[in-house]
Symmetry: C2
Subunit: 493 residues, 2 copies
Amino acid sequence: MAKELKGLTKRSDNYSQWYNELVVKADLAEQSPVRGCMVIKPYGYAIWEKMQQQLDKMFKETGVQNAYFPLLIPKSYLCREAEHVEGFAKECAVVTHYRLKNDPNGSGVIVDPDAKLEEEYIIRPTSETIIWGTYRNWIHSYRDLPLLINQWANVMRWEMRTRLFLRTAEFLWQEGHCAHATAEESEARTVQMINLYADFVEKYMAIPVIKGVKSPNERFAGAVNTYTIEAMMQDGKALQSGTSHNLGQNFAKAFDVTFVNKDNKPEYVWANSWGVSTRLMGALIMTHSDDNGLVLPPHLAPIQVVIVPIYKNDEQLKQISEHVQPIVDELKKLGISVKYDDADNRRPGFKFADYELKGVPVRLAIGARDIENGTVEVMRRDTLEKKEEKLEGIAQHVAELLEDIQNNIFEKALKQRESMTRTVETYDEFKEEIEKGGFILAHWDGTTETEELVKAETKATIRCIPLDGDTTPGVCMVTGKPSKQRVIFARSY
Amino acid sequence: MAKELKGLTKRSDNYSQWYNELVVKADLAEQSPVRGCMVIKPYGYAIWEKMQQQLDKMFKETGVQNAYFPLLIPKSYLCREAEHVEGFAKECAVVTHYRLKNDPNGSGVIVDPDAKLEEEYIIRPTSETIIWGTYRNWIHSYRDLPLLINQWANVMRWEMRTRLFLRTAEFLWQEGHCAHATAEESEARTVQMINLYADFVEKYMAIPVIKGVKSPNERFAGAVNTYTIEAMMQDGKALQSGTSHNLGQNFAKAFDVTFVNKDNKPEYVWANSWGVSTRLMGALIMTHSDDNGLVLPPHLAPIQVVIVPIYKNDEQLKQISEHVQPIVDELKKLGISVKYDDADNRRPGFKFADYELKGVPVRLAIGARDIENGTVEVMRRDTLEKKEEKLEGIAQHVAELLEDIQNNIFEKALKQRESMTRTVETYDEFKEEIEKGGFILAHWDGTTETEELVKAETKATIRCIPLDGDTTPGVCMVTGKPSKQRVIFARSY
C-alpha cells in the first residue's frame, strides 16, 4: 500500500488524475465491466451508508415516509410530459425483450425474438412519471394531502463520458416526490428540502455550499423552478450537490391527478421532487483530500480513530494491548468508532500510510515507552500534525479533536471558496478571471441567449442565482441590459 | 376504511383471495402499471425497513460488509456457468438499446435503431456472475480471504404468474457473496448464514422454520448444495423463506478466480451466496394475520402501540391529552414506537377497525371516565382480548404485553405447524394426506425421478431434508428403495 501511495499523482500536477487514482487507491470504487457503471467497494459504501442514514433521519423528521416504485417505466409514460421526455429519452437503457434462448448456431445464448415486448420499458432515469402515474389512485381529496414520499433507489442515465461517482451510467440516490393542495405549500416544501440538503452537506460533509435558483436553461426537465446547492472543489470548479424542483402542476396535468379541494372543487395537485446521489461522494473526496490521500469529515468516517501499537516482541504487544483495551472501550462508550490494528503482517509505517490514504481522522500510536510515560502520539489527518498527549483522559481528548477536525476542514473549504470567488464588471474581465477557476459573480440580463453565448465562449455556466447575499441591480456584463442581481458563473463538473 | 374492512374475504372462504385483498387494504403494496412489478407503499415499506435494519446488524456482527455492484450483467457473463445460465436465461429482462428518438411518423418516441448495443445486458436476476467477475481482481492471496460481502438491491426475474410480495418480476433483497480459502470454511459460512436467517425469522418475524437441505433438483442453479428455511402458512402450504448456497469452486472456475494458498500454490476460491427477499413480507402476512386484518409481530411493527382518545367535546379531549402525554413519553423512553391518534375527522370505531386492519399490536383506548378512575382499556391485536388496566405503570405493562404477544404468535404458529405435520408410510397414505395440506414426513429414495413423479402426481415437492430431528433410515414410500431419513413434502408457494 505504501508503494501504491507513492504512485498517487499530486493535485498540482494533474487534479483530475489525482481524483481518479485516489478513488481507486482508497478502495472507494472502481470501474465495472458494464459500460460506465461502477462497483462501490465496501469502504466507499460504508461512507455512503453513513450519509444515507443521516439524510433518512432528517427526511423522516420532516414527516417524509419511504416507499418503493418500479425500476422500469413504460415508454408511453415517459412521453406524457413534453419537456421531461425531451430531457431523458436520449440517454436511457431500453428493455425490449424478456427472454434469452440457446443459440441454435452456437454454444451461447441469444435474445429470443419471440419474447419481444409489446411496449418497451426504460430503466428509470428518475421516477416522476411512474410515481405520478401511481399517485392518480392515491389522491382524491385535500384530506389525502400532503403526500410526502421518498425512495432510495438506483437509476440509470446512459451518459457518454463517465467518471467514478461524479458521472456514472448507473448511480444510487434518493428521490423525494411530494404532492400538495396548494402552490404555496409545494413551494415551501421545495425550499425546505434545499435547506435540509444545505444543512446536511455543511454539517456532516463539512462542505460549504451556496443556495440558489437555476436559470431556466439549467432547470430540471419538467420543472417550473429548480433550487440547487453548489459547492466549489479544490480546483475551483463547481459541483452541483443537490437539487429541489418545484414542478407546479405539470406532472399532475400529464397524469391527470386531481383532488377535491376544501371548496369542493376539483383541482390539479401541486408537486415537487428533490434528490441527492452518490455524486456527493465525489464532492466529499474532492473538497477535503490531499496528496497523501483521503481526508474524511469525522461525522462520516467509517473508522474515526485508529490505534496502532508499536512493539518489538509479543510481550510488548501484550502489555500495550492491555493498556489500549480500556481506551477502546471508553471511545466506544462515547459513540466513537475505533479500530485497534494489532495485525502482525504489516509494519507500523505501512499502516500509517494506509490509514492516511483512507482518511481516518485521528491516529493514535502507542509504544512500550509510551506506556511507561503514560503518553500516546496523536496524529490528526487534516493537518497531519502530531502531538504527544497524556494517556489519561485520552478518549475525551479524541472526542474534542474529532469535532475540531470537523470544524477545521469546513472552515478551510470555506476560506478556499472565498479566496476563489471574485466579482467582475466587464465581459473582458470575466474571460480573464474564468481562466483562473473559481466562482465569478457577474451581472446577467436573464436571457438564455446570453447564457449560451457565455458558455460557448468560456465553457462557464450559470451555477445559480444566489438566494442569499448581494441583490443590488446592475447591467449585464455582456449586453448591458438591466440585471436584477449578480449570478454565479463557473466551470463545473 | 371500516367499509373496506367489511369487504375482506374470510380465510376459510378463500385463503388466496383473503391474502390478495389484505395486502392492498392494509396499504402494504399494490400492482403497478409495469407487468408483474409492485409498488411497496409506505406502511409496507416501513415493515421491510425494520427487517432490513435488523438483518443488516446481524450480518455485520459476523464480519460482513456491504457493497454495491452493477444492475446490468453482460449477456456473456451469464453464460460462463453452464447450470446458472440454464436456470436464469429464460426469465430475464434484456436491455438491447441505449436511446429513444422522436418518431418521424408520429408524436411519440421510438427505440432508436442506431443505438443498438453491441452486446446485450440483462437486468440482474442474481449477481453471482458480475460479482465473481469482479472478485477476480480483488483476490490474489490467502491473505485477501475470506471476503465477506453483502449487497441490498433490486433484482428482476420475468415470472409469468406473479403475486404481491410472493412472486414479483422485480423484488428487493439482499445477496451475500463470500469467498474463502478452504471448502470447510465456505461450508461453515453457508451453514452460519442459514442459522442466522432462522434466528431472524423466528425471533423477529415470529415464524417457526425448519432448517434443511434442498434435494439436488431444487438446488440453486450453479450450487453444489443449497440450505433452506421452510415455513408453513396458515393454509398448510410451505413457503421457502431464505436460502444459503454452497457454490463450491463453480463460479471461481467460471471466472478464473484463483489465489495463492499458504503452500504457495494457486487454487480456485471457494464460494457461497445467501439471500432473503421481500418475499418474507408475504410469509409475515400469511403466518399471523386473521379475518380482521394484519397481525404484526411487535418486534417489526412500525407502530407498536396506538392510543385512541374517547371524548365528547374539546374540553374532554384536552383533559385526556394531558394524561396521555406522560404515557407517550414513558413508552418512547422504553424504546416503544407509539402513536397518539387524536385526529378529529375519524370516529373511534373507525380508528379501531383501521388499526386492527393494520395489525398494530396494542391499542389503548382512554375516555373521560377512565381518567377519573385511573384506568385504560387495553386491547391486544393477536387475541383481540380487551382488559381494563390501571393507568399507573401502564408503560411497563405494555412493554411486557408486547413481548407476550411476540411469544404468543410464535407459539401459535408453531402449534399450527405441528398440528399440520404428519408422518406417512405408504404412497397411498401420502396422496390422501397431501390433499389436507401441511407438511408430510416421508421416506424418499434420493432420486430426482421419484421426486418428479410425486410432483407430477400430487403437486407436492420436497421442501427439504431436515437438519434436525429424526434421522432413522427406512424405505422410499414410492419405490421401496432404501432411504437415509424422512424428508418433508408439501405443496408450496
